[in-house]
Structures are given as structure tokens and as C-alpha cells.
């Protein structure tokens, strides 16, 4: 729907040209393989990028478009559930944060504010699902029940509490006295929920302990704990000398 619909017809003249007819491949099939290589190139750039290398920075920024496309497709697949769109905020903004961090410095207010937005979007999206504001995805229940062995009623209460905490931490990030604990909790919870996939699914009875099925699920959620970790670290260790143009939130000294 993003690149083709009956009205605009987008990148192909008709639906068959777009998705393939069964007798031949459509645009989607032809481009899927190409997209895989582009994602791989983005990964290499992210691992090797230097602040002076335009050839690496520009592809990284372009990879945001690809991620945006992917997450928008997920959003459409979820029948336009708003949390499905915003919960990917952290993953979507990660390449931008990396590029801006390299170019402007990790303490630059734009970078830190963007990181706050990324965390807020991620946790607000997950919180909306956990609280049941939108239908809670079944794997939330499944993972919780498998890991803790709880009954459904207990699981539902737990998810409700976790969802409420998601929103509290989003608010906490904006309150100077609460922002470091909030970021640390976000880091913990982001790591816990990322690891929940392999923890719930892997088993010694499976080939490779099931790692080939579940580990990537944790890796792709790395921004959920790495971005709040970045905020906590730089809030905890503020720059020794202020240039006077940093946002007040980056200059505060933690209460601890």
C-alpha cells in the first residue's frame, strides 16, 4: 500500500506486476533479494563508520528509509495499530543517532533529545500493548507464561504493571531528578524483553539450542536497551565544562 495502490499505481502498472502473478515474479519478489544486500551494507557501515567518511554516513542515513519502509509495512500488517508504528521508534532512529552522534558529538542536545524521543516511542508503543490499550500481542502472554510459569490472570496483571511502568519511565526521562533511574530501568527492561525471546524459546533439546531461531530476535531489539544506556551514561557523567549551548537536561548532575 505504501508503494502501490489502485489509485496511484505507484511503482508498477498493475497489481500483478507488483506482487507477481504466479507465473512470474513481481516487483516485490525481485527487490526482496536486493533489499537483503542493502541491509547488510547498512550493517557494515554501522560497524565501521567514521565521522569523516561521507561514503559511510550517507548510506547509514539512507538505511533509515529502508527501516522506515519495513516498520511501516509492519504497521500496515498489524491493521494500522498505532503502537506497532511507534514501538519501532528506537530501531528506526538508531542510524540517525549514530550519524548525529558522530557529527555533532554524543553530548549534543539534539542527539540526546532525539535519543529521549526514541526511547519514549519504543516504550510508549510497548506499553500501549502491555496495558491492553490495543489488543495485547499473544507472544507477550506466551513469553511471560513460559518464563515464569504463571497462570493467565497473573500474567495479565504483570503485563499491566509493566505497561504502566513503561509510561512512567517515559515521563521520568523528562524530569531531571528521575531521568537517570528512568533510563536505567529502561535499559534493564529493554534488555530483559529483548532476551525474553531466546530465554523463552531456546531449549537444550533443539538443534543449536534453538539459537538460530531466537537469538536474532534479541539482537534486533538492541536499541531498546542501548539507547537508554547511552542516556544514562552521559547523564551520569556530564561534560566537565559547559559550552553554554547544551540543553539544560544534559548539564544536570545526577542526584546520586
Amino acid at each position: 500500500m505504501l508503494v502501490w495502490n489502485e489509485t496511484t499505481q505507484g511503482l508498477a502498472e498493475n497489481w500483478d506486476d507488483f506482487v507477481g502473478s504466479g507465473a512470474d515474479d513481481g516487483l516485490v519478489q525481485r527487490w526482496l533479494g536486493v533489499l537483503a544486500w542493502l541491509y547488510l551494507a547498512g550493517t557494515v557501515c554501522a560497524l565501521t563508520v567514521r565521522r569523516t567518511s561521507t561514503y559511510q554516513l550517507v548510506p547509514l542515513l539512507l538505511s533509515v528509509v529502508m527501516l522506515g519502509f519495513l516498520f511501516y509495512a509492519k504497521y500496515l500488517g498489524a491493521q494500522r495499530q498505532l503502537p506497532m508504528l511507534i514501538e519501532h521508534g528506537g530501531q528506526f532512529l538508531m542510524p540517525i543517532l549514530l550519524v548525529l552522534g558522530l557529527k555533532m558529538g554524543p553530548r549534543h542536545p539534539m542527539v540526546m533529545n532525539l535519543a529521549i524521543i526514541a526511547v519514549t516511542l519504543t516504550f510508549a508503543g510497548h506499553g500501549a500493548y502491555a496495558l491492553g490499550l490495543w489488543s495485547t500481542p499473544s507472544n507477550y502472554f506466551a513469553m511471560t507464561k513460559v518464563i515464569f510459569g504463571w497462570e493467565e490472570a497473573t500474567t495479565r496483571v504483570f503485563l499491566g504493571v509493566a505497561g504502566a511502568l513503561d509510561y512512567l519511565l517515559c515521563v521520568g526521562l523528562l524530569i531531571p531528578k528521575l531521568r537517570i533511574p528512568s533510563a536505567l530501568y529502561a535499559c534493564f527492561w529493554g534488555l530483559a524483553t529483548a532476551l525474553a525471546r531466546p530465554v523463552a524459546g531456546m531449549s537444550s533439546e533443539l538443534n543449536f539450542w534453538g539459537a538460530d531461531q531466537f537469538v536474532h530476535e534479541a539482537l534486533l531489539r538492541a536499541p531498546h536497551f542501548l539507547i537508554p544506556l547511552y542516556l544514562a551514561v552521559f547523564w551520569y557523567k556530564p561534560r566537565k565544562k559547559s559550552t553554554g549551548d547544551l540543553a539544560s537536561v544534559t548539564e544536570s548532575v545526577p542526584d546520586s
Binding site: L76, Q79, I86, L121, V146, N207, G210
Partner: protein
């Protein structure tokens, strides 16, 4: 500085919010169904009712719309006797799913009776409980699968053609093999729509519904005895949706079935419903081919991007037939072995399940969708598939199923081609996802003038299968959204007099009583009941003549002591079909094989006459 801060906030909010809000407000696209539960008047709170009668027990489940707060949570079932309505059962309405399950024991199934379900002071729903058609020679089964409601597949097109055709052939029993509901979150809303679409024929005849993967709210289902699935796609085995959701689905779709033969629950408190239904002297085994099946993820070597799809044609089929992989499971195999030897009031046997016991399609979804094998099919695990077929052929059972979105007829083989049962996979009511049976090599031993895709083949798991028909969709479906995508339904005529099985495969929106109407290519196909276990390598013993018609006979290997088969023969004479080089004991009786009547039976042995007590 402030500008940059606020600009960044503004930009991100604009990007995410703008897209989201515009999409939230976007007009509903054509292609996806709008699924709501309509508000109904108090008099119309009962949507539809399903029933079966078995062993003199009537089980009827009325499906209600959600009731207003304070509405009575009791419903009554009445039947009309001598023109007067008489209450025969009452029940509490189960709020989780709004079902009212009735049970009436000591039911007289020799009479057709009008019934009505009553709720409150205004709501009534009427139908007919048919008499058991034991006096009919031909039992007509109307069979369906895949009830997509999405307009993009033609799912919004009225089902009135199906209603009219079922009435015209006056089907004795309805079979919905699965995917009555495709919505993974709103089973109740979709089930009510199913009831509005099909209630008119369901209310007047026994109906068997098997909830399949989409009904349970997931794309595929390897139930693995009720474990919890956490992997996207659920190929790690188990149920993705909360157990309460699954229980509600099963209550809605199966609580009217005869009692389960082995009612012990599986993990998460999920029930079972595998059982049998004897109707019109045909004994139907109702199987749960998903509930106990093992998930493939992590258990078999990956042969492609998805754990359940094998794209590598060079793979070793034996490598995926791993120890511990379950298909029907021990409980169902035990049931089948018992069922296959029980011929009380039965002349023919039919197995009903969600899908067929082989990989019944090569191309899935699109041109580059050629799969070597799909573990969602019952072709995997091969050992489990062979055990299931071995149990079914002992009863000469015919197999009726769906799920594949592609109608096919297969004759299955275990040790040799065509040494087991026949299956008919019926087409989808509206076809959500296209598949094609398109082997790369022409089949061997094809019938004259048959397409190259028919004949003997090895499926992707190296299972022996012989294809007789495949209703492949058009390569570029266009125009008629239903029939270019090979939508339709099946009619199976089980002739208990002639012991024949006639398979019919009809497209949508045709009059199936009009002689000019054509079925999908390859249909109709008629086979004998005895073709369901008739290996070509066997030979015949001498004719045996009994003093009574239609006795039950059982043939047992004298060395292994294993039962070869049990069947109610047609008439007084019988020539046992036997493996060469072995000797067998023959038991027989009027309604059960309880008398040993011959020993040392073998291929070529003399004919004999037997008198049964």
C-alpha cells in the same frame, strides 16, 4: 539551540504522527473485510445452532450474540411433539464466547423433530433434528474449507449459491474442515458472521467443524500437546494465543460434537475433541491432526529461510523424519486402532481431518514459491504419516480434508504406490492463498488421457502418492475472483449399498443439479470402499460364502498376530485380498468379528462356506 531541540521533536512527531493519523483516518481499503458484531434486537440474540446426534445422544450448541448486562444467562431447548413444544433441556450460557451447549440423552434418532432454542422472552431460533438416515443407501456429505471473508479474494461474495446447492442435494451432513475463521483476534465476531452465512443449512443437519490453525488465531498450528509457542509463525510448536482464547474457539466450534473418546486435557487446560460420529451407517472418525503434532523449528535441519519450508531439492528426506516427531500422537492412534475394528451399525468408514497425509502442493503463493516440502502438511513427519495411514487402511477408511486451498484427489502409498487410503482435499470457499500441484516430472502409471501431473509421484518428503486430480488455479487469476482461484466445495456421495465413494468438486456460483454444469477437471471420481486397502502386490484367497449378509470380517497375520484389516463385507460372499507368502486367520460375526471361522488362509486357498451363529 532551542530551535534545534524543538525542530527535532517536531520533525519526529510529524513523521510518525502524520503517517499514523493519516492512516487511522484513511478510508477502509478494498480487500480487507470489515468485521463487526452487529447490534441485534432482543428477539434475534440467537445467531445459529449446530448439532450432532450420536449413540442416542443429541448435542446442540446455540451461538448467541453478546448479551446486554442483566440479560438472563439461561437458554432452553424445546422440541415439537404432536404439535406442542416441549422443553427437553436447559443450560447456562457461557459468557466467554456466548455459547449455550445443550445435551439430551436417550434421544430417539429414528424420527425427524423440529426444535427451537429459546432465550429470554423474545428470542427463538428454530431448526430440524434429522432422523438418522439408516434407511438411505446414499449418504451425501457437503464438505468445505477456507472461509476467507476478504473482498480481495472474493470473500465478500454471498454464500447463497452454497446454501442453495446444499439444499438441492439435501446433504445429510456438513463438514467444515477448518479455517472457518481467518481473523486471529476476533473469533467471536468472525464466527457469528460464519453463522449468519451458513446457519440456514447448519440448523437442519448434523455439522462437523474442525477448528484449524487460523481458527485458533495463528498462521500455522503444530499444537505439540498444548505447549506455548513463542516463535513468530509458531513453528516451534504450540499455541500462540492465550489458552482461554483457544478454549473459547474450541467450545464454539466443537462442543456439539459427540463426546471425545479420550477426554483428558492437554497442556494449558486445553481440551480435546477427537471422536467418532456414526450417521447413516457411515462411521466418521473426527481427527485432530494439529493438536499433538510436533513443531519443526529446531528439531529438523533448516532447509530454507523458514523452519517449516524446505526449499533445497537436494536435501535428504530421511533427515527430517526425526525421532520424537509426532503427528497424530499415541492417543489418537490408539483410538484409530479401536475405531477401525468396530463395525457396529457401520458399513463404511470415513476419516475427517484438517489436512491430507502428504505434501499436496508444489507452488505456494507465487511463481517463485516452489517449495520442495511444507511441514505444515501431514506429509511430515513421514513415520507419523505412515502410522496414521496404516491405522486408517485397516478400516478401508476414505479420507476427507481441506486446508490446502487446492482441491486434490490422492491415493496414498506406504510401502508401495497405492497400498493405502484415498483422500479428497476439498477447495476453499474463497481462496485466500493460491497453491498449485505442479510436479516437475510427469507422473508414472497415469490413467489414459490424464494430465501429466497425475500418476505416481514422490512428494517432497519422499512419500508415495498417486494423484488423480488437482483443481489448480489459473496462473493469472483475473475476472471471476472465486473460480479463477479455484474456489468451491466438495460433495461426497457414500453409497452404503454399492459401497462406492463418489467425489465431486464444484466451483462457486453454479447450479450443481444442472446437467450442463461442469466440475473442476478430474472430477467426479468414483472408487470402491475396498480400494482404500488394495495393494497391487497382493493376491486373492478363495471365495468365502457366509450364511448371513454383510457380516464383519477380520483378517489377522498368523505370525505377527497383527490385524491386517477389519471390514463389514458387502453381501454374503467375500474373496479376501492378502499379501503373498503368509497365512492368516479369519474371524467373522454378524456385528463384530467375534468368531474364528478359518485359519491358514492364504493367497490361492480353497473357497469355503461358513455358517455364523
Amino acid at each position: 539551540m532551542k530551535f534545534s531541540k524543538w525542530f527535532s521533536v517536531f520533525a519526529v512527531v510529524l513523521i510518525f504522527g502524520g503517517i499514523a493519523v493519516s492512516q487511522q483516518n484513511a478510508k477502509k481499503r478494498r480487500g480487507r473485510a470489515v468485521l463487526d458484531i452487529p447490534k441485534v434486537e432482543e428477539a434475534n440474540t440467537i445467531c445459529f445452532a449446530l448439532y450432532t446426534v450420536s449413540d442416542k445422544t443429541l448435542k446442540l450448541t446455540a451461538q448467541l450474540y453478546p448479551l446486554e448486562e442483566g440479560a438472563p444467562l439461561k437458554a432452553c431447548l424445546e422440541i415439537k411433539e404432536n404439535g406442542v413444544w416441549k422443553e427437553v433441556a436447559s443450560t447456562e450460557i457461557i459468557k466467554e464466547g456466548w455459547t449455550a451447549p445443550f445435551r439430551v440423552e436417550t434421544w430417539d434418532d429414528s424420527k425427524t423433530v423440529s426444535y427451537r432454542v429459546i432465550h429470554g422472552k423474545k428470542a427463538t431460533y428454530e431448526g430440524t433434528i434429522r432422523k438418522n438416515p439408516t434407511d438411505k443407501e446414499e449418504i451425501v456429505v457437503a464438505a468445505f474449507t477456507g472461509n476467507s471473508i476478504h473482498p480481495v479474494h472474493g470473500g465478500d461474495i454471498s454464500r447463497q449459491d452454497i446454501i442453495e446447492n446444499v439444499k438441492k442435494v439435501d446433504a445429510d451432513i456438513l463438514f467444515f474442515s477448518g479455517d472457518q475463521v481467518y481473523d486471529h483476534h476476533r473469533h467471536l465476531a468472525a464466527w457469528l458472521k460464519f453463522g449468519r452465512d451458513f446457519g440456514e443449512i447448519i440448523k437442519d443437519r448434523p455439522t462437523i467443524c474442525l477448528p484449524d490453525d487460523h481458527d485458533a488465531g495463528q498462521p500455522n498450528l503444530w499444537g505439540e500437546s498444548g505447549k506455548i509457542s513463542t516463535l513468530g509463525g509458531a513453528s516451534d510448536g504450540g499455541y500462540s494465543r492465550p489458552a482461554a482464547y483457544v478454549r473459547e474457539v474450541e467450545r464454539a466450534q466443537t462442543s456439539h460434537l459427540p463426546d471425545p473418546v479420550d477426554p483428558h486435557k492437554i497442556q494449558q487446560g486445553i481440551g480435546v475433541w477427537f471422536t467418532n460420529l456414526n450417521w447413516g451407517n457411515v462411521d466418521f472418525a473426527i481427527l485432530e491432526d494439529r493438536k499433538f503434532k510436533t513443531g519443526p523449528a529446531g528439531r529438523v535441519p533448516k532447509q530454507g529461510p523458514r523452519p517449516d519450508h524446505i526449499r533445497n531439492p537436494e536435501y535428504d528426506p530421511a533427515s527430517v523424519d526425526v525421532d520424537g516427531a509426532v503427528l497424530l500422537g499415541e492417543r489418537q492412534l490408539k483410538f484409530l486402532n479401536s475405531w477401525s475394528s468396530d463395525w457396529q451399525d457401520a458399513k463404511m468408514k470415513v476419516a475427517l481431518s484438517a489436512t491430507i497425509f502428504c505434501g499436496g502442493a508444489h507452488i505456494h503463493g507465487g511463481a517463485n514459491g516452489r517449495l520442495h516440502a511444507d511441514m505444515d502438511s501431514n506429509g511430515w513427519p513421514q513415520s507419523g504419516r505412515n502410522r496414521a495411514l496404516a491405522s486408517l487402511r485397516k478400516a478401508f477408511a476414505f479420507h476427507l480434508a481441506g486446508d490446502q486451498h487446492l482441491a486434490t484427489i490422492f491415493h496414498h502409498g506406504i510401502d508401495e504406490f497405492r497400498d493405502a487410503i484415498w483422500s479428497f482435499c476439498v477447495p476453499s470457499i474463497a481462496n485466500l492463498y493460491l497453491r498449485w500441484w505442479e510436479p516437475l516430472k510427469p507422473g508414472r502409471n497415469r490413467e489414459a488421457n490424464s494430465p501429466e501431473y497425475t500418476g505416481d509421484h514422490l512428494d517432497g518428503f519422499a512419500n508415495k502418492v498417486t494423484n488423480y486430480a488437482a483443481a489448480n488455479p489459473e496462473k493469472k487469476p483475473a475476472g471471476n475472483l472465486l473460480n479463477t482461484r479455484s474456489a468451491g466445495f466438495g460433495i461426497v456421495r457414500l453409497n452404503t449399498g454399492k459401497r462406492t465413494i463418489k467425489m465431486e468438486c464444484w466451483p462457486r456460483n453454479v447450479d450443481i443439479t444442472d446437467p450442463k454444469t461442469s466440475q473442476y477437471p478430474g472430477w467426479p471420481k468414483t472408487i470402491s470402499q475396498f480400494d482404500n486397502y488394495n495393494p497391487s502386490s497382493w493376491g486373492k484367497a478363495g471365495e468365502i460364502t457366509f450364511n448371513v449378509a454383510d457380516p464383519v470380517v477380520e483378517v489377522t497375520d498368523e505370525v505377527s498376530k497383527e490385524v491386517l484389516y477389519t471390514v463389514r463385507i458387502k453381501g454374503k460372499t467375500f474373496r479376501p485380498h492378502l499379501p503373498k507368502g503368509a497365512t492368516f486367520t479369519l474371524k467373522a460375526g454378524r456385528n463384530a468379528s467375534d468368531q474364528t471361522v478359518a485359519t491358514k488362509l492364504k493367497v490361492g486357498s480353497d473357497k469355503q462356506s461358513i455358517t455364523l451363529e
